[in-house]
Structures are given as structure tokens and as C-alpha cells.
């Protein structure tokens, strides 16, 4: 059947999308086959590289008997609270430094020195100072979220086009109204980039926090348990869970970012 040009383009797009989906599944599939092959040859001790079947069974027993979902929930809760605390305060500091040169002079040098210290480096001190329930973990995670959010908010606010500020001044926009209607929307793409990076950092540091700080629940805790009992199947269950949930979180925040950016075609903005 003869198709109009637009319809042809559309059907090609769908075909390309299917190709893309298949394409992105190909690599995991190959890796899985290689894994299965190596494990079944018995070249390597099953203790070091358990077979896919063993890992799957471990996953099931962990869900049914060892509260894996509760561990996941505990980690997620830490990450979400830490992410929120870190991004909200990072947004505030970034905005403040972006708006005021004086604030930048006061805060920026200290901020840049402190952020050179890897977040993990703070763990001993923070555990000493705030040894109450979940507080140390959340502080560590929020610190990891804080840096990228501050930097990207600051950059976004500083790079608001002076033409937009002129337009705002011609229309009598000042103070809070100027910040709400011009500066923040204009910096939004950069702020969303900051939030995406912050989420990745929070998720990564959550593991470290659970490794170094004793807690009874958390995916990191399960991996630690697997390590100390030479149960590599359990370690792999933890790794897959972390990878998968991290990926889902990234997809969620990227979708949110697109929704917030509405019809903006950031590439077409001059």
C-alpha cells in the first residue's frame, strides 16, 4: 500500500524503535550466555562464580525468607530522604550564590575546598558526631546529592541570559517575582541535570554508607552478609538489585525532567 511521507516516517520510527529495543537487549543476553557457559564448564569454582540458576534461587529465597524487599525499602528510604535533603539545600545554596556575588565570595571558596574531600572520607567523623539511628547514613547521602545540585543550580542561575533580565525589567519584574518567573525557569534545564547527577551520587554513596556503618537493613548490608559468608550468589543478587533499581530511578527522574521542561526544545534555544 502506498503510504504518505509522514506515515512512512512514522512507521520507520516504530521499526527503528523496535530495532533499538532489541539492540539494547543484545548485550545483556550475550553476557548471560557467556556467564552460563563458563559456570557450566566447571572451570571456575561454583563458590566464586555461581551459575545463573543458583543466583536466581538465591534471589527467590532472599525474597521469601530473608526480607529482601524490606532491605530494598530501607535503602530506598535512605536514598530518597538523603536525596531530598541534599538537593533542596543544594538548590538553596546554588541559587543564593548565583544571585549574589557577595554570597559567592563568602561561600564558594569553602564549598570548593570541602567538595574535594570524597564523601566517604567524612564517614568516620559523621558517625562519631551523629550516632543516632539513620542520621549518619542520611547525612552522607545528602552530602553526595548536595554537591552536584549546588554546582548546577549555581551555573544555571549565573547563565540566565541578560536579554531575559532586560525584558523582565522592562515589564517591572523584581525580587521574588523575578526569581520565580524568570531566573528559576531559565535555569531549570541545568537544575534538572543537577538533580539527575545528585540521584546517581546518592544511590552510589548509599552502598558505601551501608558498608561502613552498621545497619540491620539495606541492600549494602545484604552484600556485606554475602561477602562475609562466602556467598557470591547473594552478592550478585545485591548487585543486580542495585543496578536495576538505580536504572529505574534514573528513568523516572529523566521522565520527570522532560515533563517539567514541557514544550521546551532546549537545543533550539539560543
Amino acid at each position: 500500500m502506498y503510504l504518505l511521507k509522514e506515515e512512512r516516517v512514522k512507521s520507520m520510527n516504530i521499526r527503528n524503535q523496535i530495532k533499538l529495543r532489541i539492540g539494547s537487549l543484545a548485550l545483556p543476553l550475550v553476557l548471560f550466555i557467556v556467564w552460563q557457559f563458563i559456570a557450566s564448564q566447571g572451570y571456575i569454582l561454583a563458590m566464586i562464580l555461581p551459575s545463573p540458576a543458583t543466583v536466581f534461587n538465591t534471589l527467590i529465597t532472599n525474597i521469601t525468607q530473608h526480607d529482601l524487599l524490606l532491605h530494598v525499602a530501607a535503602s530506598l528510604k535512605r536514598v530518597i530522604v538523603g536525596f531530598l535533603v541534599g538537593t533542596v539545600s543544594g538548590f538553596a545554596l546554588g541559587l543564593f550564590m548565583g544571585l549574589s556575588r557577595t554570597a559567592e565570595k563568602i561561600f564558594a571558596p569553602t564549598f570548593h575546598v570541602i567538595r574535594q574531600v570524597p564523601v566517604i572520607g567524612w564517614i568516620p567523623l559523621i558517625v562519631m558526631w551523629f550516632a543516632i539511628a539513620e542520621v549518619p547514613q542520611i547525612i552522607i547521602i545528602s552530602l553526595a546529592a548536595f554537591y552536584p545540585m549546588t554546582l548546577n543550580t549555581f551555573a544555571g542561575v549565573r547563565n540566565v541570559r541578560k536579554e531575559y533580565l532586560e525584558l523582565a525589567s522592562v515589564n517591572g519584574y523584581k525580587g521574588i517575582k523575578l526569581i520565580r518567573k524568570i531566573i528559576v525557569p531559565s535555569a531549570l534545564p541545568s537544575i534538572i541535570t543537577g538533580a539527575t547527577l545528585s540521584l546517581g551520587m546518592s544511590w552510589g554513596i548509599m552502598m558505601a554508607a551501608e558498608f561502613f556503618i552498621d545497619t540491620s537493613y539495606g541492600i549494602g548490608t545484604r552484600i556485606q552478609a554475602g561477602r562475609s559468608s562466602f556467598n557470591m550468589a547473594l552478592v550478585l543478587v545485591g548487585i543486580f538489585t542495585i543496578g536495576l533499581i538505580g536504572y529505574v530511578l534514573t528513568v523516572i527522574i529523566e521522565t520527570l525532567g522532560r515533563v517539567v521542561n514541557q514544550g521546551r526544545d532546549v537545543n533550539k534555544e539560543i
Binding site: E166, V170, Q262, G263, E269
Partner: protein, 259 residues
């Protein structure tokens, strides 16, 4: 003092910028009056200070000698009695066409706002594009939205800084017609900075010719003939030759082409 709205008077105005510790005179002793309801074009080569003069009238530049008055009052910063259309349309990319036009209308209620927006969308011939985003518009359409936004505040004076400079030749001629129609409907003072001599003659009651270093007004030419104007008419060509001569670009026998 006259009771007419939309009058701009510039008296003995001079302005300098400091560049590398040197004072650079941009405008030198400018004296001109723009009357209510006039269409005035300011033309001149780059660097003659015409955009600076426009920015002074808008209220974005201060710190000059002499006086700049709107309706007899000194200009102190931007005000809603003066609207502006920039060369880049300067629409906010995160707002729809409708929201962009309503940008300066915060003081109005929801219903009133809707009404003003609808009226101005119609004025610039863009009904149906309310929900579009600027990135979905062509250059000419975006500039129409910018004109609608500037007019929605009901200014007495519309300042236009090379508003059609970024458009292709045909869109540009079409938009000149549109501008003339809008000016005749709104009956407000319009002051336009342009590079284009044809555009200036087509639209203006008065053409102010400036020359550079430092920027001075060289000549003010009245264009008395009836509208809509024919770009190929002999009077049009005659005035054009007269203006081009001011830029040392005139030909000896302009009528040779006209006859």
C-alpha cells in the same frame, strides 16, 4: 504642556561610555521631538548610537547629560507606558504563546487577561497558536508574538529595535505591511531603529538620519505621501536617493530608473 500622550522629547542629550579608561562619546548633543501618534524611523550606520538612543528612551540606559522626557516627565527607568520589540524576539522558551503575551499583564484578573491576550493574538493574526511554544514558531510568527506582547500592556509608545532585521526579505515586506496596519489601528507613537532605507520610507512619517563617532542627528526628513506606499513610485525613489546621498551612496540621476 500638551495633554497628548506618547510624546518624547530629547534635549541636548549626550552620552559616553568608558572603554579601557578612555571616554568614548556615543551620542553628541541630540535634540529631537517625537510627536503623538507618529511613526518615526531612526537610521544610520552601525555604531552611530541609534540603539543607545532607543535604550535611553526605554529607560534601560541612564547616566547621560541633557534631558529625555516622556509626556513632559523625565525618564526614570523602564515604564509600562513604553513597550519594546527587540531584534531577537526574546520570547521566553518555557512559556506558551499565550503566556508570553500575558507576560506584563500580572495586574489584570484572569478573565481580563484572557480577553487582552485573545484581542492581541487576533491583532497580529495568530489565533489558534495560543498553546504553541516559541520553538515551534517561524521567525516571522515569533516576532508577531513579540509585537503582541509589547502592545498588550497598552503602551503610549512602541519602541522597535530593528524588529524585522532577522527575517528574510519576503517575510520582512509582509511584516512591514502588518506593522503599518497595527500602527494605524492602535494610533500610538512608534519609534523604530532600522538599517533598511526602504523599510524606513515605507513606514515612517519622519526619518531621522544619524551619523557616527560621535552619534549626531544629521538630518530629519519628512515623508508626507499617502499610504499604503508604492516602493516603485517616483516619489519613493526620489526620497530614497535623497537619503542614500546622506550616506554618500547616491547616484547622479535617480530618475533615470524611475521613468
Amino acid at each position: 504642556m500638551s495633554t497628548l500622550k506618547g510624546v518624547i522629547e530629547i534635549r541636548n542629550l549626550s552620552k559616553s561610555f568608558v572603554v579601557d579608561n578612555d571616554e568614548l562619546k556615543i551620542l553628541n548633543n541630540i535634540n529631537v521631538t517625537f510627536s503623538s501618534g507618529e511613526f518615526i524611523s531612526i537610521i544610520g550606520s552601525s555604531g552611530c548610537g541609534k540603539t543607545t538612543l532607543l535604550r535611553i528612551m526605554l529607560g534601560l540606559e541612564s547616566d547621560y547629560e541633557g534631558q529625555a522626557l516622556v509626556d513632559g516627565e523625565p525618564i526614570e527607568g523602564p515604564g509600562l507606558n513604553r513597550g519594546i520589540v527587540f531584534q531577537d524576539h526574546r520570547l521566553l522558551p518555557w512559556l506558551t504563546v499565550k503566556e508570553n503575551i500575558a507576560f506584563g499583564l500580572d495586574k489584570l484578573g484572569r478573565k481580563e487577561k484572557e480577553l487582552v491576550v485573545a484581542e492581541h493574538l487576533k491583532l497580529v493574526g495568530l489565533n489558534g497558536f495560543e498553546r504553541a511554544y516559541p520553538s515551534q514558531l517561524s521567525g516571522g510568527m515569533a516576532q508577531r508574538v513579540a509585537i503582541a506582547r509589547a502592545l498588550a500592556n497598552r503602551p503610549e509608545i512602541l519602541l522597535l529595535d530593528e524588529p524585522l532585521g532577522a527575517l528574510d526579505a519576503l517575510t520582512r515586506m509582509h511584516m512591514q505591511k502588518e506593522l503599518e496596519r497595527i500602527w494605524q489601528l492602535e494610533k500610538i507613537t512608534m519609534i523604530m531603529v532600522t538599517h533598511d532605507v526602504d523599510e524606513a520610507i515605507y513606514l515612517s512619517d519622519k526619518v531621522v538620519i544619524m551619523s557616527s563617532r560621535p552619534g549626531v542627528i544629521k538630518k530629519i526628513i519628512d515623508i508626507p505621501f499617502a499610504r499604503p506606499r508604492d516602493r516603485a513610485s517616483s516619489e519613493f525613489i526620489h526620497i530614497k536617493a535623497q537619503i542614500l546621498k546622506e550616506f554618500h551612496l547616491g547616484t547622479e540621476y535617480p530618475f533615470a530608473y524611475a521613468i
